[in-house]
């Protein structure tokens, strides 16, 4: 709601929209090896940021440093008024429930039903006992049903997660993230294991969620064409550094070649249809 009123003057410059995430000089080293180096950027409310870069560039490391699934070596992260790098254990839990996360391999509990998996998104709000026993409040269950319906999964509500197709599993993953009431959603190659049709469905859902629920997104992708279609903004990393931060329309083929370096040859095929992996 709030953001919508802010969006009108945003035509002057996007700096008018509230900042949600600010990353400053973030670095992660594994021994001598630097996975990400000196990364700085900001993300605004409701913004759809796509992260691209060749394999091993540091996309996963960057995403996980934001919610501290990986502990950065140095640098700062501010999220919604919290200084992420200074949080204690309790603060970290609070942070994580405000940030949803989806994955390439969905990471659902295969042996539980769709609705149970969705409700797992509420665990960050639960006490040890109620959460362990899987006791959820009526309104949490109602919200789960709403999200399941919204994502077109209502006929699968009580099916076991392993009976679903990849695209359906990813929608369960999205529902599990959304029930957290997040302000930001991180996606680590969420469509990399999907066929083009399912991938498009997922990207369409993410785009509409970003706009209707005003949830910011940082999604890593390895299909440049998809990135250009959906992104409000593209962040490109190469060898742990940001090499492009700007609008998708300003990203020329030359820049793309630059970003992917020697891998650019494969990339031309990649920007068209999905490649088989």
């Amino acid at each position: 709601m709030h953001a919508r009123t802010l969006e009108a003057p945003a035509t002057v410059g996007s700096s008018e929209v509230r900042e949600l995430l600010k990353v400053e000089r973030l670095t992660k080293k594994y021994g001598e090896h630097t996975a990400i180096a000196d990364i700085s950027f900001t993300v605004h409310e409701g913004e759809f940021v796509v992260l691209i870069g060749p394999s091993g560039a540091g996309k996963s490391t960057l995403l996980r440093s934001i919610n501290r699934m990986i502990e950065p070596t140095s640098g700062h992260v501010w999220f919604d008024g919290m200084q992420v790098d200074a949080l204690d254990k309790k603060g970290l839990r609070e942070l994580r429930r405000k940030i949803g996360m989806i994955f390439q391999h969905y990471n659902l509990v295969d042996r539980l039903s769709v609705i149970e998996n969705v409700l797992h998104g509420r665990l960050g709000y639960k006490s040890i006992l109620t959460g362990s026993l899987g006791m959820y409040q009526a309104q949490e269950k109602e919200r789960a049903m709403e999200l399941i319906t919204m994502l077109g999964l209502e006929e699968h509500t009580y099916k076991r997660a392993d009976q679903l197709s990849g695209g359906q599993k990813q929608r369960v993953g999205i529902a599990r993230a959304l029930i957290q009431n997040p302000r930001l959603l991180l996606g680590d190659e969420p469509i990399a294991s999907l066929d083009p049709k399912a991938a498009k469905t997922i990207m369409d859902y993410l785009k509409s969620i970003a706009h209707t629920l005003n949830i910011s997104m940082i999604i890593s992708l390895h299909q440049v064409q998809v990135a250009l279609t959906y992104a409000d903004r593209v962040l490109a990393v190469r060898q742990g550094r940001i090499v492009y931060d700007g609008l998708p329309r300003d990203l020329s083929l030359e820049r793309v070649r630059d970003i992917y370096g020697a891998d650019a040859g494969d990339l031309i095929i990649d920007t068209g249809d999905r490649h088989v992996d």
Partner: protein, 291 residues
Amino acid sequence: MSLDKSESIQNIVTQSGRLAASGRSIKVKPLSKSRLTMRITMIALAALTIYGFFVFDYKNISPWQGTIDMLTNFKTMFLSPHLAHLTFWEGAYAIVVTLAMAVLTTLISAFLAFFLALFAAQNLSNHTVARSIQAVAAFIRSIPTVLWVLIFAISAGLGSVAAIVGMSFHSISYLTKAYAESFEEMDQGLIEALRATGAHWWHIVFQAVLPMSLTYLISWTFMRFEINFGVSVAMGAAAGAGGIGFDMFMASAFYHDLREVGAITYYILVVAFLLEMLSLRMKSAVRGKMI
């Protein structure tokens, strides 16, 4: 491209055809150092066994006569069983006592081992803690159950309590290892996904680790229960823990009643058979539901 491929496949086909025709054999397992050691050990053991038969002190009993005597004893035992020193229902009660010891041991062990295994699993616990628990459990496992029971029998006195505590010791370390290995099978991504929602460690244990490993836990527990039943029989005799094992000990060592030993063996066989059936049933039921 595709032409290339089919050509190369044809090549392989004809080549393998030629190989088969020439009858050249390919060694799949090369004769490595460890395999060689293994082979030498086996040959040495076989030689020793045969040599042993020639140098045993048979005390004027020929092996032939001994075998016949043994078979005669077996015949008395199993073809004419009877109960002399206990009634049918006393026998049934004794086997219930033995079963109860096994059940109790298994329940106590399963419960404690579950929590120990959580801290012994590399993916759920601190590396040092996991290593330490694994090491202690391995040490306990290396000492036979019977010895543990005797150790507790000395400190707690003979009887069923010592037997149960002693048996539990070994059971716990066995199940801890088995459970921890089941937990370690878990997909790391799943744990990560739940941690990323802000879930507590215990939430992850009960909402993801437990449902994903339940089938394994049940199989391992039941397997241990069957072991514990056998051990309970032995402990009845060795530690005076009561139950059917004690009756069997009395029948053989005290009354020298072979026919009663036979009858008691039948009791144990029937129960072991029922357990096996139950185990099979349970496994297929769990499979049907979980997999």
